[in-house]
Every structure is written in C-alpha cells, then in structure tokens.
Symmetry: C2
Subunit: 215 residues, 2 copies
DNA sequence: GTCTATAAATAGATAGAC
DNA sequence: GTCTATCTATTTATAGAC
C-alpha cells in the first residue's frame, strides 16, 4: 500500500466505485471483482492500493465521518443562538445526505451490524457528531430557550426522521411502482423545514408565551 | 419443500437460528452452513424445508410484517380518538421491537438495499403498516384535533426516532465501552413517553404551542 | 503501476443412502 | 425426515511478468 500522499487517479476511481457498490450492496455482498470492473482497473490494483477489502471499506467510511464532523463542528462554533444553530445543523445534515448518496445505506448497515466494521477511530468520529448535535441542545437547555430533554432522545428525534425519511425513499418508490398505496414524497426544502418545525415544537419551553429568544 | 401446515420442531429451529444469524450478519454474510450448525441440523435439512436461502430469508421477514400489521390494524380499529390511537401505536411499536430483536437489523438492511429481497407481497404488507399509522394521523387532521401535516413526514417523525434510537443501541454501547463520550440510554417506558410527547407537540394545532422560538 | 494467472478457501445447492 | 459426500461456482488474496 503506497503512501496516501497523492490521490492518484486510479486510487480515486477505486474509492468512487467501491463507495457506490458498498452503498448499493453492502460489504459482504460486494465482490472485489465488481469494484475493479466498475473502476475500470484490474483487481490486483485494488490490493496494490489497499491492504484488504476491509481496509478499503473502512477508509471510505472514515472519510465521510471526518468530512461530516468538520462541517458540523463549524456550525456549532458559530456565534448564534442554539435555535439557529439547530436549524443550520438540520439543513447541513440533509444536504450532506443529498451530496453523498452512498453514505446512508452504509450507515444503516453499520447500525444493523452493531458497528462491527468500526474501529476506535471511527467510533470516536461518530461520538463527535453526536456530541455536536446534543451539545447544541444542551446549550439551549442551559440558556432556558429549550425545555429540559433527554439528550439522546432529543438527538434521535431530530436525526431519526431525517435519516429514515431519506432511507426509505427507494422502498417507497418500489411500493408506488407496484401500485400499492401512494406514499407521498417530499423534496429537500420541505424535509428540512418539517424537521426544523418538529425540533422547535419538541424543544419549546412549557409556557413559552412571549418569550423573546435570541439567536 | 413440505406443506407448511404443521410447524415441525426442526423447521422452527431452523427459522429461529436463521432469524438470529440474518439479524446479526445480514443476508449475504450469513452462510447456510452457519444456520445449520446453530439450528443443530444438517445443511441438507434446510433445503428440505426451504427451497433456497432466499426463500428462508423472505419467509422470516414476511412473518414479522404479517404479525406486526395485524397488531397495528387492531389498534386502528378501536373506537377511541386519534390521539389515544397514536399513543397506543407508539406503545405497540416499541414493544414489538423489544420482542423481536432480530427484526430491526433486518429492516435496516432492507432499507439500505432498497428492498431488493422484498417481493410484491412483502411490499404490500409494509405499505399496510404505513397506511395504518398515517391513516390515524389523517383521521386526526380531519377531526381538527391534529394540525395539517405532510402524511409521510409526520409518519417518519414518529417511527424515525423510535427506530433509530433502538437501532443505535449497540453502537452507543461500543462508544461507551471504548471510553468515548457518554451517550445516555433510556428504557422502553422512557422512550415510549418521549415519542408520545414529541408526536403530540408535532401534531398540536397552532394555538397550544407558539410557532416562534426562532432566533 | 499495471497486468495475467492462479492459489486456497468457502459459498449455495443437490444426489442418494438410510 | 435426516444424514454424508460432493459438485460447481465464486470469493479474497497473491505471485510474478512487464
């Protein structure tokens, strides 16, 4: 495995192909042969650039977590109030999912397997993402602009709908296609706005009459 | 494949073993050999009872969807108001997930693969479950006890947190174990109550919760 | 860096004895 | 119904030429 200094063209083609295949079929169901064909390289080239199928897989996951974590931490560091931060986090999360369509399936499968392919490094990155979102919520609770809530439950009440709505899109499409009942879709803007509204309502203090909350 | 009239002992052992293995490892990563060993039967016995690995897998998924669908439809048929029905649906969904620990991982993986292993029959069952929950919401909207909401977005705002909180439990445990940050857990009762509260707040008509906590 | 060829292990599925 | 033995295909991974 050569030093990862320069992202050679074949290397990035391998990564792109692997991301799509792992996303569509999962780790076990994806063969190195298929990745090679899709990347238009020979299978041996994959083992030249990555020590194993597992290492290739993990490297893809790690890249995403790093990028997403940096983006979210940038938002949390802004000098606006917790409600605005939360809106921005939701907005960024939806757009991040839109930008990397292979991430969601990979993430769901990791959950299903209890994070078997995740090492301490990856777990730490995930923990960081959780810390950002639930940190903003805690910040709001402390400032009394949010009601006291269970941090993890509040966190998953925000990212749960977001993730599951996007994740079910292909199955909903198949249901629609099979002429079963109609399950309406929603574009990104509608989704973002809905999640933001639900989050606001979830976190609204008990008797929030004319509270002037500063952002 | 013998007629499925009498659930023979070996057959049910095969199903139980397969459910655990498919849940833990997924379809592709689970070998028929492993299922056979776990069920304490020979591999050939599996092909005596089921036409293929795929048929065994699908049969397990279908059983769960049928049972869950019947349970939920029973609730929707009750003669109580939409808010109470929704509370009962949430309660039942959480308990159903608790009762069948292998279902959630299997469900997540199906989402990740766009329902590749699901035929028209299974898709129809899933559509039925969606119809029940979003039907109760629509009932409440019509009766003006719920505010008008996007049916699918409201649906996934309820089952999303529920599913994702439970699904992330193993990864959260690993993060805790790896001495990363502390992500608090919650028992079923707390989870149920939280989801019910969020659902109520999401669906409350305009007057009860101010729409502006915006900063 | 890129290829061909192949090793070594394992997969799903079946034949046929009992 | 249950087993042993096996066929065939595919898998990850590597050796070695260029």
């Amino acid at each position: 495995m050569p030093p990862p200094g320069k992202p050679s063209d074949t290397r990035s083609r391998i990564i792109a192909a692997a991301a799509e295949e792992f996303g569509a079929r999962g780790f076990a169901a994806t063969s190195v042969d298929v990745i090679a064909r899709r990347a238009r390289v020979n299978k041996a080239m994959i083992y030249y650039h990555f020590s194993s199928k597992q290492a290739l897989y993990t490297s893809i996951l790690r890249d995403i977590y790093v990028a997403l974590g940096e983006q979210l931490q940038g938002i949390a560091a802004q000098t606006v109030g917790p409600p605005r931060k939360l809106d921005a986090l939701i907005h960024t999360l939806v757009q991040a999912l839109d930008a990397r369509t292979h991430f969601l399936p990979m993430f769901l499968r990791e959950l299903a397997e209890g994070g078997r392919h995740l090492g301490p490094q990856e777990l730490s990155l995930i923990a960081g993402i959780f810390a950002v979102v639930s940190g903003v919520i805690a910040e709001g609770v402390e400032a009394k602009v949010f009601r006291p809530v269970h941090p993890a439950l509040a966190h998953f009440s925000i990212i749960g709908p977001l993730i599951l709505f996007r994740a079910t899109a292909p199955v909903r499409a198949r249901i629609r296609q099979a002429r079963q009942i109609e399950i309406p879709d929603a574009d990104s803007a509608t989704l973002i706005q809905h999640i933001q509204t639900v989050a606001r309502r979830m976190l609204a203090p008990e008797e929030s009459h004319e509270r002037n909350i500063q952002g």
